[in-house]
């Protein structure tokens, strides 16, 4: 016993190192499975406060660009309203099943292997885990945990996330993933060989998840090749949104998610 104690006392720093190093490894492993709510995360009080202050200061620097973007977006919406008016005599059989809340992105990363984003809305704005985040011209990610005033979002630029996507005007879907290479390119996998498309075609979100409504634009086909063995296409998609320069995002609140989830669970 004495020898054991002596050993511990002699190797104090080695043991301290091993303990702290294993804690770090455990935290790292935990961060690679994003489903767990994390101990060390940027939604914690102090770090989100400091990031928020930083956002308040730095957001003034790109007010001009931001204004231009909003003007452009206004214009697009105006056009859409006009188009809608034309088709308003078509009766609407159902109420919209999604609503949107605007949010500001206060911290964004895009050059790591697994990227996360912090937005300034949280549980008090009734934003919860599993809600999708869209951008004016694309999608941003999915909320993984939310504190009272902030939410942490797993970015689409994260190798752990894959998103249901399809070709516009077709119902054949695949899964969209990031290969951690460039922040403006993603890969659409598992699209069956029977799909017909060409370079430049638009990729939109598929309707097969409750998170994103279908037909949100994502990007265009840049390059593709067909795996002869599996019979699936692998498509390089170039994104519409510049993920390195985003400020404004929209949280997609699915109104019917509870009902649909109950149904899904009941079937199993």
């Amino acid at each position: 016993m004495q020898q054991v104690l002596k050993f511990f006392i002699q190797n104090k720093s080695g043991i301290l190192f091993l303990v702290l190093f294993s804690i770090s490894i455990a935290l790292t492993i935990q961060s690679h499975s994003y489903h767990n709510s994390k101990w060390v995360s940027s939604t914690s009080f102090l770090s989100s406060f400091i990031l928020d202050v930083k956002y308040d200061i730095t957001s003034y620097f790109n007010l001009k660009v931001e204004n231009d973007n909003l003007l452009k977006q206004n214009l697009e919406l105006q056009e859409k309203i006009i188009a809608l008016k034309d088709s308003s005599n078509r009766s609407r059989s159902e109420l919209p099943s999604y609503s949107f809340i605007s949010a500001k992105i206060i911290s964004n990363s895009y050059n790591k292997k697994d990227n996360f984003v912090l937005i300034n809305k949280g549980r008090e704005d009734s934003i919860y885990k599993g809600y999708g985040i869209s951008l004016p011209n694309g999608i941003m990610g999915i909320v993984v945990n939310s504190s009272n005033n902030y939410s942490r979002v797993i970015s689409i630029l994260n190798t752990n996330l894959s998103i249901n996507a399809k070709l516009k005007n077709s119902n054949q879907f695949g899964s969209l993933q990031w290969d951690s290479k460039f922040h403006n390119e993603m890969i659409l996998k598992d699209l069956p060989r029977s799909a017909e498309f060409k370079v430049g075609d638009t990729i939109v979100t598929g309707g097969n998840s409750l998170i994103f409504p279908s037909d949100l634009p994502i990007g265009v086909v840049k390059k593709f090749d067909l795996n002869e063995n599996s019979g699936y296409f692998k498509i390089l998609v170039s994104l519409f949104a510049d993920m390195a320069d985003v400020n404004q995002a929209y949280v997609i609140v699915p109104k019917k998610i509870k009902e649909a989830q109950e149904l899904l669970e009941g079937n199993e």
């Binding site: 104090k12 720093s13 080695g14 301290l16 190192f17 702290l20 190093f21 804690i23 770090s24 490894i25 455990a26 935290l27 790292t28 492993i29 935990q30 961060s31 690679h32 994390k38 060390v40 995360s41 940027s42 914690s44 102090l46 770090s47 400091i50 990031l51 930083k54 911290s107 990363s109 050059n111 790591k112 292997k113 697994d114 996360f116 912090l118 942490r152 951690s180």
Partner: protein, 166 residues
Amino acid sequence: MNDIKLKFLFQFFALVLVQVLIFDHVYFLGYINPYIYIAFIIALPLKLNRNYLIFLGFLIGLCVDLFNDTGGIHAGSSVLIAYLRSIIVRLSFGYNYDLDTLKLRNVKLKAQLTFITIMVFAHHLIMFSLAYFSLNYTVEILKNTLYSGIFSSILIFMTKSLLKKQ
């Protein structure tokens, strides 16, 4: 003694804030990110108790992780270089020095540079390995370590020589 403690406390917070608010958003040539907060571990007095050093290394890494949402990659890599610091000191300065009286700025410039470079590269290698956490990305890990390592070493060395004069 209290003044010295206060000085290191100030350095700790200043380096964490400078890292997360400025240098995490510096993308030199598009993707090279410098990590200068390890200057804290490099600059702590050489005679400091090894256990304190390891604990402080862990703490500063964890703070950076907290802001970056990276789990424990900075904590792990900085605790490792804090643990290895005494060995790296011996490697780069030789065995002729008495650690209790030695100060970093009294060492020859070449030895200082060696010390900083080894510390930075050891840190970056472990950090990028933990960040990618897969052998499939070996090339990316080595590439990032090399580029970021050179950038961080230069920055840390410059900061040290700038601060010394005042």
